[in-house]
Structures are given as C-alpha cells and as structure tokens.
C-alpha cells in the first residue's frame, strides 16, 4: 500500500477506464475521489456501481458532468439525469439484478468465471444467456465482472491498509476491493496499526494499492 494525495490517485485513472465505485445510494461512496474525477474531467468512463445515486451525490456527480459512457448497475430510478442520458442513448446501460451484480463482482475477485443463479430465469434478464440445469433446477450463467480500478470507501484504514467499514456504508466496498487491478481507498479515519484487531479486519492490507492521505 502506498499513501498518495487524491490528485495523484485520480491522475492514474485514464479517460475511458473501467471503474468500480462502492456505495449504495451514495452511502459508503468515496466522495473525495469522485470530486477529483470531476475536477480532472475524466470522461468516457465505464462505471460499475450499484446505482446512479442522486444528482450532486456520490457517482451522481459523474452524470451531472457527463463523464459516464457505460454504466453497469441495478437501479438508476432515483437519478433523473442518469435516466435522461440512458433514454437519450448518451450512455449505454446494463441493468443487473442486485444479487447477481454483487456475485458477478465477487466471482471476478475470486478467480471464478461466473456464477449460476436462479434470479432472472424466465425474464428479460435471461436473454442471450446460457441456462444450465443443476439437479433439475434452471440457473442462468452470469459471467464475472472486473474493472481496472476500484474506488472504495472504508471507515477505518490502518497505516498498512487494513480496512473496516461502518454500518450500511459497507455494502459493495469489500467485494469491489477484490475485483480490480488497482484498488484506491479513502477512509473516514486513518489509524495506527493494531487499532483494528485481526478479527475485525474486513479487507486485508495486501488488497489495497493506494490509500488517500489526509488532506
């Protein structure tokens, strides 16, 4: 793990990159990284995030600034700007059931090619996908998702990069921290090694590439 400034971290992300962002309706989203992505105007992003949040919050800021080219998400209904951009074909959107979304990312982080899920069988979600029977029950083959970058928000990070999360801000963060080539983390608090007891570490330090230093 290397501690870097938010400017240095975002400078590593090229335009057009695939970027996973933790958070659920903006809760547990690394806001400082998103503000900097907007400031450095990184465009054409392929965004992988549970939802589009709301304008002005979390990944919603990227839609405000028109920086998203492709979105993989489960729900965008609370962000009218993302909806307009989808209906106007300015962004391409893949909508994925939430349980499938998280399992595809988990698979990507765990070296699996994909997962078999009953969710979506017999619906629009099944179109173009392989259906596989196991013990007589139908499942869809849902392929793994990875990204070039994961932007993760933790509650505590220690000097080595061990992470814990808080309350409902955990959501997709620890799963995404496994599934990208480069993992960049912001934390509410940076604490000495030992403050997070081994049993309480959720994301172990070797998974973290960059920790955003206190401003």
């Amino acid at each position: 793990m290397k501690a870097v400034s938010v400017e240095e971290a975002v400078a590593m992300i090229p335009a057009g990159a695939s970027v996973m962002v933790g958070g659920f309706m903006g809760v547990g989203t690394p806001e400082r990284l998103l503000d900097e992505l907007v400031r450095q105007n990184k465009t054409g992003l392929s965004l992988i995030c549970n939802d589009a949040a709301i304008p002005g919050k979390g990944v919603g800021k990227l839609f405000d600034a028109g920086q998203v080219a492709k979105l993989t998400a489960t729900h965008i209904g609370l962000n009218p700007k993302a909806q307009q951009q989808m209906l106007g074909n300015q962004i391409s959107v893949e909508l994925v059931p939430q349980g499938t979304f998280v399992e595809r990312i988990r698979a990507g982080g765990c070296g699996l090619g994909g997962v078999l899920t009953p969710t979506g069988v017999g619906t629009l979600v099944a179109e173009g996908k392989r259906q596989i029977e196991v013990d007589g029950k139908p499942f869809l083959l849902e392929t793994a998702i990875r990204a070039q970058f994961a932007l993760v928000h933790a509650f505590l990070a220690d000097y080595l990069g061990n992470l814990t999360y808080a309350l409902t801000a955990r959501n997709f963060n620890p799963i995404m921290a496994m599934a990208a080539d480069t993992v960049i983390v912001t934390a509410e608090h940076i604490v000495p090694v030992g403050v997070i007891a081994p049993d309480h570490v959720v994301t172990p330090a070797p998974l973290v590439d960059y920790l955003i230093a206190n401003g």
Binding site: F24, I54, Q98, T117, P118, V121, L167
Partner: protein
Amino acid sequence: MDPQIIIARRVAQELKSGNLVNLGIGIPTLVANYVPSDLKVFFQSENGLIGTGPIPEQGMAHPLLTDAGGRPISALPGAATFDSAMSFGLIRGGHVDVTVLGGLQVDAHGLLANWMIPGKMVPGMGGAMDLVSGAKRVIVAMQHAAKGKSKIVPKCNLPLTSARPVSLVVTDMAVIGFPDGKATLLETAPGVSVGEILAVTEAELFVPDHVPEMKL
C-alpha cells in the same frame, strides 16, 4: 379506512415471531407500523442490515446508516450489518422468511411484474428479482386497481420479475392466493362484496363457497 392502511394491516398479520422479513418501498414499508410490539420480527434492509428500526428523531440520523432508498434509519438492539454479497445470500439462499413487495401487475397464475414499464419507466430491478426468486414467501401489497384498471390480470403484459409465482396478494379489496396455481379469492376487505371484487378483477378468480372478511 385508508386503502393503504387496510393493506398494511392485513399483511402485518402474515408475519410470525422470529421471521426475517424484507419490506419493499411504498405500501410494504408501512407494514412495519402494524406489527404487534410483542412479535419479534427481524427486518432486513438489503443494503446490509438486519434489525432495521424506525426513522431516527430530528438530529439523530447517522449518515452511514440508511435504508435501501438511502434514507436515514435506526438500528435496533441486536442489529447486524454485513456486505451486499451476504445480504443477497440471505435473500437468494432462502433465509428470508417473508418479502413484501409492491406490484404493477399480478397474473392469474401468481406471476408478478413490478420493475419496468417499457418506454416509460426503466428504473432497474434493484433487489426485486432476487427477492421474488429466493424468499420463502413472497407477498405482494398493492392497490387492487390503478386508474380504474385491474392490476390482477389474466396474463402480465409488462416484463416479469420472476418465473416463480408469488405466495399471496393483499389489496385494498381482497386477499388472493394461488392454491393449485390458480388465483383464488381468500378474503374480502371490510364492506366489499365478492361481486364488487369480481367486477373490477380482470383475471378469472376462483371463489370458494365461503369467503371470510379480513379481520383488521
């Protein structure tokens, strides 16, 4: 009684002590208000919480403690938090006893459509498809008709949420179940006759000899 309150009160009667329950947005959220206080029900919020409590008082909200709509909530003593893979493992894995969801249409075989209206409303399915596929019991809480049009239809013309039928539909007029795969009138709302229900229901409804009235 307000139609939404009829629905919420009747659905609340379906919950049993010890149940793990997931409530969707809208009418389903109201169900929590009518669960008797001596009933120990665990409410799950799919963004990563079991033990969801009421909306906190003014000034007591925590920015990192929200429901699946991003609104501040509280956590009851004994609450547990977890990541989204765990949350949907609970849902898909059959660990959630009851889910209560809103509906756009339910058909004569109990199939539900509740996530998109092509060309008009494409918000995304969020957790709905996993909930309908995986929860032990799926209860749809919705108005019987919208703008005079029946929401209980012979066949859904909106995209389905799951190929798995729901367990029960509770509306402001009736309780409908699907024994043997066909829509059956189980209860009438107070003051509503079987004839009135049949008149506004597009799907064919099987009517047993005796149909009791909801006890609210």
